[in-house]
Symmetry: C3
Subunit: 649 residues, 3 copies
């Protein structure tokens, strides 16, 4: 089902009726309203004004649209931050971040928690059982613009309490942080400060505890709202719209407290900020990275325990990236189908009408500022017509392949980078992309997830390995491939007593006795089969009794193992990219007995229930890998650029 984001507070009331009618006419079912409207709900302290929102919901609902109501806590009004200045967050240099945009609040502000609870409860009481309000969104895009971390006095106070809770005694903290080093010992929790403005880097455990704490603050802030909504709006699903490319807090943890994970899909800026080389960015300039969007659909499907929505779908060029190119005509349709193929049950476009003022005036919409349909509008109309042709009710099945994404491991490599070019986000995406180029459907999983039924599990950057996860993996039938650094840190960010890969020794008899990070201008060589592949970024020296499947070649430690493994698990001692990565991933799939396509190039495929999908991100037509007897519901066997095909076999 499709929807749109709408801001009645930004348009004259005279337009609401007509807007609602046209939304419905286009075939939309959902409309999101209300997030960012606190100043309209409560223009002065305590002066709650619901009348306008009553009317807006009424107009939209009566037009036949289902309303998603957003809590407005991402943008506290000016009078509120003036009354309680300690609401404001503090940046890493110690500077207070001022009012005038959004997300100007510190998750640790006790006063802000009270005030947020007050407005959310008032809203939930008024609209919780409103017949037109079908779902709730909490806040908006946690973490945008580095807002998970605040270095305020309130955060310092809360951090100390959190540490006392976590460690019990200061001695336990001293042991975990390793404060025997450099005389860093603390005598009491009250002595602890936030890890900014130090002379050098802090203890990595100090830093990672601050990240964990900050993540927990997001979870509890979100959970507080979820509880209120559950109480006053029983039976209405609760969501939050996550962003892509943000690993500042544990999305699984926040996701556990909501019903549906939604996210905001902006592939044009995602491309420019992303992992690809400039050459590939030029190549995919108007289609976006062919794998990044799918990756986040799959990630948020995991975060939402199977339920994922797109709350904001880019409808054309936007305003906030370093450059803001237009997507190719057809991409809005393609992205909508891509979301559906990857399990999304709702796609909402951001936004209905382009706004002619303020920060996002260059952000396109389904309508131009003057109300005329823009390109995206036409493509939405097309998708809606096409969807009507499909058999209904398809659900995505569990995939054969799982890829592990683990937030604490991401924080571990952030706190202990060891080399500027080790980029866990890029590595995770590269592995996912290699699987996609082989036509594989992937489930993204956390360490807490059930592994039964997977044929293969890929763990590109699992620095911190759970014993329970290893146990579960050992007992399921899956083969596993681990990237370098796997198991290299305990939960407290120390080196395991038994040396890395620590708990993975249950699967692999090996030790990592040396790691090194490598500058961009240096290339290592890996001999795999009869071919030599370049590699870079990171290399490990391992000692093992396991069979060696590939080895380093060159001046330095010629012949040292680069890939080792047994019948259950393999370990890669280098960051693999390009052809080497395709080789290693392809071999692993074959070993695990997962059927794969030959390299699909710029085609991507996906399955949802009985439906097969193909997408062409390339510049030439290509044949989709459909069975000869396939019945095409959308598109054809030969898929033109920006084309979408949907078939059953």
């Amino acid at each position: 089902e499709l929807g749109v984001c709408y801001y009645p507070e930004q348009w004259p009331r005279e337009k609401w009726q007509d807007d609602a009618r046209r939304m419905k006419e286009l075939g939309l079912s959902w409309v999101r309203v209300g997030e960012f409207a606190w100043a309209h709900m409560e223009p002065r302290p305590g002066d709650l004004r619901w009348e306008w929102l009553d009317e807006a919901i009424d107009v939209l609902g009566r037009a036949g649209l289902k309303v998603i109501l957003g809590t407005p806590t991402a943008a506290p009004p000016k009078w509120l931050v003036d009354l309680y200045p300690d609401i404001l967050p503090v940046d890493t240099k110690g500077t207070v971040r001022k009012f005038g945009a959004r997300r100007h609040y510190c998750f640790s502000s006790r006063r802000y928690r009270q005030e947020a609870a007050r407005i959310v409860e008032a809203m939930a009481k008024r609209y919780g059982t409103h017949p037109f309000v079908y779902a709730w969104q909490i806040d908006n895009e946690y973490g945008d613009h580095d807002t998970v971390y605040s270095y305020s006095k309130e955060a310092e106070r809360a951090f100390r309490l959190w540490l006392a809770e976590r460690y019990g005694t200061i001695d336990a903290l001293n042991a975990a942080w390793g404060t025997n080093f450099w005389s860093m010992r603390y005598g009491a929790f009250e002595e602890i400060e936030l890890p900014n403005n130090l002379v050098e880097e802090p203890s990595p455990t100090h830093l990672v505890d601050f990240i964990r704490f900050s993540s927990d603050q997001v979870k509890s802030f979100n959970g507080m709202q979820a509880d209120l909504l559950r109480r006053h709006a029983p039976g209405r699903p609760v969501t939050h719209n996550f962003m892509s490319n943000n690993f500042d807090f544990d999305h699984y943890e926040v996701g556990a407290d909501i019903d549906i994970a939604s996210w905001d899909v902006y592939p044009m800026g995602g491309l420019l900020n992303g992992r690809l080389s400039d050459d590939n960015k030029a190549r995919y300039l108007r289609t976006g990275d062919p794998d990044q969007t799918a990756f986040y659909h799959d990630l948020y499907r995991a975060v939402g325990r199977g339920r994922v929505w797109v709350m904001e779908q880019q409808p054309g060029p936007v305003n906030w990236a370093s450059h803001n190119q237009a997507p190719a005509d057809g991409m809005v349709r393609l992205w909508t189908w891509l979301a559906y193929a990857h399990g999304a049950d709702m796609v909402s476009y951001f936004r209905w009408r382009q706004i002619h003022y303020a920060q996002e005036q260059f952000h396109s919409a389904l309508l131009l500022p003057n109300g005329e349909p823009d390109q995206g509008y036409q493509e939405v109309a097309q998708v809606i017509a096409e969807i009507a042709r499909l058999p209904a009710g398809a659900r995505r099945k569990k995939a054969e392949v799982a890829l592990v994404v683990d937030y604490p491991s991401r924080w571990a490599s952030r706190a202990l980078p060891q080399g500027r070019s080790y980029d866990a986000t890029a590595i995770g995406l590269d592995w996912y992309a290699a699987l996609s180029r082989y036509g594989i459907d992937v489930d993204i999983v956390g360490q807490h997830c059930d592994l039964d039924g997977y044929a293969a599990v890929f763990a590109p950057d699992l620095l911190i390995v759970d014993a329970v996860f290893v146990e579960r993996l050992a007992q399921c039938g899956a083969k596993a491939l681990f990237g370098p650094r796997s198991g290299s840190k305990t939960p407290n960010l120390q080196i395991p007593t038994s040396l890395p890969p620590g708990p993975l020794n249950a699967l692999l008899d090996m030790q990592v006795v040396r790691v090194e990070s490598l500058p961009e201008f240096h290339i290592e060589s890996v001999l795999h089969g009869n071919e030599t592949y370049p590699a870079s970024v990171w290399r490990e020296t391992i000692r093992t009794s396991e069979p060696v499947l590939a080895s380093f070649s060159g001046e330095y430690r010629d012949g040292a193992p680069a890939l080792v493994g047994n019948s259950k698990a393999r370990y890669l001692a280098v960051v693999a990219q390009g052809d080497l990565l395709m080789k290693v991933i392809g071999d692993t799939l074959d070993w695990a007995g997962v059927a794969r396509q030959p390299d699909l190039g710029d085609l991507r495929v996906s399955r949802r229930g009985p439906l097969h999908f193909a997408f062409n991100f390339g510049k030439v037509s290509a044949e989709v890998p459909a069975a000869t007897e396939a019945v095409f519901h959308v598109g054809e066997r030969i898929l033109t650029p920006i084309g979408v095909a949907v078939w059953t076999e």
Copy 2:
């Protein structure tokens, strides 16, 4: 006439006499003194010491030099900022900028206004009618080192008052800033803060209002001094020495309050900081950008309503750029002639003798630190001899071609960049350079200027278009070429209701329905005539009933209009550079009936009354475009590198 900058307070009195004599002997007529000497005029609070300045002026005047006296407000003394610390400016991070260099004052400090008025009035009373003081300079280089914008409490206070004045009611401000967006609504002017240290970018109108406010603060500070000087120094022209490459405040507005616009010419640093590629920087390393200096002469001629001086002419290598290469021998002469050709009536070299201490000790001068003549001295002597050969009294005529430079439009693209590579300063210079390569004399105009008599008007980046300007343009006989983004913003930085180009719809029937900014690694193609040209940076999709003169070609929206126009006006939907820009500008000139040269390559020409000038910025000799009957007063028809030719036809 030629002059020099001199600092008697930096040299023993014994040298003054001899220095004055040698200046006169060289043929100089003017000498600037006094700016930066507050600590010598008033070494302790209220203790005014004029005796040394009396003597200095006397010595210089008696030697036959006309004195330009500078007010010393660019450098308040230490005792003053210690007495009144709120004089000091505050940087964008909120840090107070300390004493120890210059320009350490906030334009909004009420106390500093009083103190500046006090010292200027005292000076003006003493020297206002002094027979040797022929002109006054106010302050020095407004805006140097980001000093237009101060984030102090004083600035916040003044900004609130300025907003109350501008908007009358807070509702009007809320409407203009679009505070319905993101709950940014303000309840009172007292709630407003300065737009620094926000979580994200502020409303662009908030930002641009702060720029406008800051510009007005410069204007009123300057105007306060101008009023005092007019009162006490009647009949003496008042100037300020502007910098190149600074669009932080509206120079037309400040220029309106003075009699002559002067500026400081440093082409070597200008080249390195400027628009050219590294290859072209290498090519023009010792000559400077062949167009940048001429552009600013023409701009400041507009700012000075026809009267322009060079207050500081680079005499050799200087000290403040990232690198400080020496100009080619001959360039000091060339720059002097260039200034004259573009309408300057006075050129003053900075400085007489190189100083052996403090920040600018590497700044060369006419004399070495030990008093010997340096290279610049010899070249000045040559210019003076050459000038003597010319017929006197030539005035620059109104040009056939006008190029629009508009400060609010520059601020608009700064507040709403939309793409990192859109650089209005470079675009304006590129258009100017294309006209210059066709041998065209250009008048730079603001939107307030009279357009009668121009055959063609070029507007490369006129984002905010005045209705009156459009009216005036419509009624004059000029053809017009508009660059992309023209008319795209209302004065409050909103999108026009009728879509861009807004008020230009009076001239052109078209709408811009999409804009996009493009990264450096992507190239668009434009088909113009039978040739295809590369383009980048910015592309628009337009809808129009006007004839299409060039179109985009390629995968994306192939055939979409790139240049459209009718018999009055043309609109370019892309940032044109290189050959495409030469093609478009050349065609426009032909269409407007403006005679042009073939591309002059590294030659540049100019006219002042009956005099024709040519300058060779290249590495090989070239023939100047002189009529066969031309009489050469300086140089010859075949112009060697770094050569200057002056002729009448």
Copy 3:
């Protein structure tokens, strides 16, 4: 003799005994302990706990190891900075640098001086005459992480006193700083502020005085500790472990107060941060810059007046650089021999066992975290066996060639860079490297050093020349080569009255009449002999009656002198690199009668007493320049990559 750094406070007591035994077994003689252990010595205010240290020293000493005891002042405990917050340093933006790592103290804090004296005196009294404590190290790595400069109130106070002491009267300061410029005049020392957060750069003399002051603060802080140690630990040598690549304070001055200069050898990070191009960094990735380490050995030999130790030798990959590549196997051995060849009498590895927690957990050691020997351990064992084969007691002789390194000159080019690409550290190393490629042993000297006996003196960047140094140079037999900028500044950073090279006019009849700095994309040409060489960075125009030995060629001032000289001294008017530098250095050696090898490529040689050494930093085997009758004690005539040869002739 070899040693190791050990941290008993980081390991359970049960391990001490065994660790000590294994150290001795490996053949180590020295062990450094105690620096960074303040929190263990004094866990609460005044609660001194020596028992653990008594035991640790006892265990180590009884195992036969000589203890170097470090004072713990590089890491004051948390309770101390909480008691006295003005201990903390303040960064250049004015932000207090917090506790949580190390070096979190301001050298100007009076309170910290007292507290440091208190703990050092207590330690010295307890262990000063302890039979197992053979030497003392003061503090740790002065200057790490920009900690020489603190912008605190305490520093401001101390700076004013220092200035009053230096100048006597404020008028003298005004004259030195050139405050006649820009009205910078001060009325009293109390008015002076620290040179941070200014609108523009401060007076270079203001800046350089702050550097001198900060350097003096380090000296007096260190001297205070040295005095206490001398008093209570008579006869035990006192050292400090300097870092490479740090010119923030005058190491000769600090070195004057200690007995042995030691330093910390980390060639892998040094390479990446260093002077070489990316191509050469790739080439020497796992060996390090072949000259940088040797340069610092020679520098610290000068700082230690002949006595130099290596306190921390990199044993494998480390943790703190942008990337942390592994050294080639064999490099730990090679570096140990290199240290010995350059005069080091002790090499101590950092550290005994890799620590599994805190900031440096990726720093390798002789043992892996689990106690197994790592690669470095094996190489140390090899060195120890090899050393046993050598004749004992070799001392390094005075070299024929001296290279001048002068701290105030370094500060001068920092305060007056004049061009972004002038890098004095790189220039000094480049000259040293050219000498090394000719097989020359070099003594690094300060201006205070005796010059008798040198055949040639090289001064690559001696901006500030001492009259006494010139006198001494004139009277000794050495030939001299001066780089550009030599003698260009007086001690107060002014231009000499006689123009540069100022005091060098006693040796050379010439004046520098113009300097220029050049961007990377521009190349000058120098004609030397019959060949033309590229040059860049810096060019001077000189006027001279001396013979011209090389000249510039090209468009700009074709034929101007590039190298001039007489029978005593030569002056180079350009920054020479690559082939031009090899040519100029080679010629100078020949002129001075210093025998040289042909370019050694990747081989390096050195002599210590009767012993000759060669090191192969290349990728292919090479023949060492040994006499035919040479007797090889280590290695052979044909030296494999990473090889070391030691012979007598």
